[in-house]
């Protein structure tokens, strides 16, 4: 039954249509992207740690290589790690198990999307091989992306491949949840993670095509002589930014929602508690976020010269995001209330996430206010804010998820001691790295600078941030080492080590074989995945 007991054959993995194996492929690919993008982050921190060129001989060299690192770090972390880690790995492996399905609705399309994902990653990695590496940030704003000697086409193709992969995933999972739930499973009995995936994929389905259109126009402008973004021929430079952020702000919620979904699972399991106000979390929180997500993109263009009325209008809508996000925070934090809480590694990461969520979420409020943004925009305050909420929070959530479901995927436990050391290095490291960036950001340190000779007073804080980054690097390396080591010869785990009440733990073996369930799953009207309370 167990896939693990059979002999390893590479072709079986490449051509697999099993959602669990596809999930594992997504995990391996996204962790690889994370590793390389993480090395870029370390190089970025080292370059900034001292005034003048630190890792190069001349200003030109330093600027050139630094911009490629920034581009790769941003693009790979968002498109290659966070989105595929959450909606690729976690959703693929666990969503069908949670709803009692034997696989996804379209297994072959699922396999095709993981191939597209790997192709996208490979195209992105060519950055380090082609002579004129892309240096256009993950945003690719024209006219710079059109006039640079960097190879903008690689950026465009990476977005195309990963975007297409996302759209296929979205269709697949929405159909799966709608049609393949176990008999008896109503909409209000779904796991929070399932709901978070559904809402994230609704956003992907609606908004990814807009991004694809934007980067395609970039491609046409640069290589085929069109003038969409060229004002000298009747084009408009701001058109791209509007299209780009019309997708890319909702993309933040494509990351935030499943990350919160994983946390809901972990917090409920380790508190042995029902979700506090489930319906407010799902319909008010998650669907509310989807509803508002498309009306807030102009907060990325507060200093871009948009008309006043829309800068004020979207200040209001951006602030209103606090309503759905606040409802999710209340139901997530409230799940701790009268729980019975234990602190294994997944829960440690989850608790750290609550803190990161608070810091990252609250520091977004000043950035939502147009007038305050006139000073804060494009400073390292912004940089620290989105790293807290989108970078580190979501990364910790993926890590929490891997630790939480590790026994399910491998039948083995991870090394608790190694995991704990890794956790503390990561958690302390991120705060040492990003708190200094808040501080110097308020004082005006601009983003995307490899040098800051006009502001030499920021050098010490940059040095501290580098020390933090080295801590994170060590912690991440230990964490990934722990997974590999434990997957090979970890201690055998019991069937349901966290005593979860959710289907993926109660109804399948570790790891689940083809078809997932030993017998068909049926649930009763009273069943919920969070059924812990004594009766």
């Amino acid at each position: 039954m167990s896939a693990q007991s059979e002999k390893f054959k590479l072709s079986e993995w490449i051509f697999t249509t099993d959602h669990k194996r596809i999930g594992v492929l997504y995990l391996i690919g996204s962790i690889a992207a994370f590793g390389i993008a993480g090395i870029m982050a370390l190089l970025i921190r080292i370059e900034q740690s001292s005034l003048g060129p630190t890792l190069a001989d001349s200003a030109m060299d330093a600027g050139n290589q630094y911009n490629v690192w920034l581009y790769f770090h941003g693009a790979a972390m968002i498109l290659g790690f966070l989105i595929p880690g959450l909606t690729g790995f976690a959703a693929n492996y666990f969503l069908p198990l949670m709803i009692g399905a034997k696989d996804v609705a379209f297994p072959r399309i699922n396999a095709f999307s993981v191939w597209l994902f790997y192709t996208g990653i490979i195209v992105a990695l060519l950055t380090f091989i082609v002579p004129d590496a892309p240096d256009i940030m993950w945003t690719g704003y024209p006219p710079y992306s059109l006039v640079t000697s960097g190879n903008t086409a690689f950026y465009v193709f990476t977005v195309h491949l990963l975007g297409f992969s996302s759209i296929l995933g979205a269709v697949n999972f929405l159909v799966t949840v709608i049609y393949m739930r176990a008999p008896g499973m109503g909409w209000n009995q779904l796991n929070m993670f399932v709901w978070s995936t559904v809402t994230a994929f609704v956003i992907q389905l609606v908004f990814v095509p807009v991004l694809a259109a934007a980067v395609t126009m970039l491609l046409f402008d640069k290589y085929m002589g069109t003038h969409f973004f060229d004002p000298s021929a009747g084009g408009d430079v701001l058109l791209y930014q509007n299209l780009f952020w019309f997708y890319s702000h909702p993309a933040v919620y494509v990351i935030l929602l499943p990350a919160l979904g994983i946390l809901y699972e972990i917090v409920a399991t380790f508190s042995k508690n029902r979700i506090f106000n489930y319906k407010a979390g799902v319909y008010g929180g998650m669907w509310g976020t989807v509803l508002i997500s498309g009306e807030v993109w102009v907060h990325h263009l507060y200093v871009s010269g948009m008309p006043n009325w829309i800068r004020i209008g979207q200040m209001v809508s951006t602030l209103l995001i606090s309503i759905p996000v606040g409802l999710m925070a209340i139901s997530l934090f409230g799940t701790l209330y009268r729980g019975s809480i234990t602190f294994s590694i997944p829960m440690k990461y989850a608790v750290a996430c609550l803190f990161l969520f608070l810091v990252g979420g609250l520091t977004g409020i000043p950035l939502a206010i147009t007038a305050l943004d006139l000073h804060l925009s494009e400073t390292s305050f912004v940089h620290a804010h989105f790293h807290y909420i989108m970078g580190i929070f979501a990364t910790f959530s993926v890590f929490a998820g891997v630790y939480y479901w590790f026994p399910k995927m491998t039948g083995k436990m991870t090394d608790e001691k190694l995991g704990t050391i890794g956790f503390w290095l990561n958690f302390v490291g991120v705060n040492i790295t990003f708190i200094p960036l808040f501080i110097i950001g308020i004082d005006g340190m601009p983003r995307r600078y490899w040098d800051y000779e006009m502001y030499p007073q920021f050098e010490n804080w940059h040095f501290v941030a580098m020390l933090g980054a080295i801590m994170i690097g060590t912690g991440m390396a230990l964490t990934i080492f722990n997974w590999i080591k434990s997957a090979i010869n970890g201690e055998a785990s019991s069937a349901n080590p966290w005593r979860s009440a959710s289907l993926e733990w109660t109804h399948t073996v570790n790891p689940p074989g083809p078809g997932n369930f030993l017998e068909d799953v049926k649930v009763s009207e009273e069943w919920t995945p969070y059924d812990y309370a004594k009766r």
Partner: protein, 242 residues
């Protein structure tokens, strides 16, 4: 939380009306308005952060499992409780949002309404240097490599409005000291204004990514007394005509 926020809203409203009255005489200063708004928002954030943070810490300690077999026993919510726990917080968040938005809008108007009699300077962004052109056609710039040139020189006591555009890619005029920032784009003209109240020297930095020397695209911004400024402008004009 509701009481706290109500108190916060009330005190904020009183405070803002006092400030508004004090400033009726002259034009509002963007830097001061910014700082006031910033401290209001920061206060708001700390309150919310402390409420959520303290509750979480309290519960994490209080509800630590006594034995590994224990389960939680949070009560199931009645229909009324469920709606209350959704609508009341939603209403509080919304009230806070509108409160912050109203304050933010006021400061925004300060930023966008250029006072009468402002001195106009035309700013052009280039890869990778700034050009400043005064009303009489005199220009000024700054060479980062040689550390030569005066950059943007303005007289103390006169509001300055910048009309900005770019010759190549997008740049952004980031003037930390005066709390202003706006992009420069080819094909469009944008504006910002600032209020040099006292003698000061600061930097304008480019804050929209513009290529390899993006972080070397900066220039000094000097606010000097009016007589000295007139002298400087005349000298610049003569240098250019020579």
């Amino acid at each position: 939380m509701k009481v706290l926020l109500a108190a916060l809203t009330g005190s904020g409203l009183i405070l803002s009306s006092v400030i508004a009255r004090a400033e009726e005489a002259a034009y509002a200063d963007p830097v001061e308005s910014w700082e006031q708004l910033w401290s209001t928002v920061l206060f708001d954030l700390w309150i919310m952060g402390i409420i959520f943070g303290a509750l979480a810490v309290h519960w994490l300690i209080k509800y630590k499992a006594k034995s590994p077999d224990d389960v939680g026993d949070s009560p199931s919510l009645s229909r009324a409780q469920m709606w209350s726990w959704a609508l009341i917080p939603a209403f509080i968040f919304m009230a806070d949002d509108f409160y912050l938005a109203a304050k933010g809008w006021t400061v925004w108007n300060t930023y966008r309404n250029v006072p009468e009699g402002a001195m106009e300077v035309k700013v052009t962004g280039n890869m990778w240097y700034w050009e400043f052109e005064y009303e009489d056609g005199t220009t000024s710039s700054y060479d980062v490599d040689g550390k030569e040139g005066d950059g943007l020189v303005v007289p103390v006591g006169t509001p300055v409005v910048l009309r900005m555009t770019s010759n190549d890619v997008i740049h952004s005029f980031g003037l930390t000291k005066y709390r202003v920032k706006e992009d420069l784009m080819p094909g469009r003209i944008t504006y910002i204004w600032f209020n040099p109240k006292e003698e000061a020297e600061s930097w304008v930095t480019c804050v929209e990514f513009c290529g390899v020397l993006h972080s070397r695209m900066y220039a000094p911004v000097k606010a000097i007394p009016q007589p000295k400024f007139d002298e400087w402008l005349q000298k610049r004009a003569e240098e250019e005509n020579a």
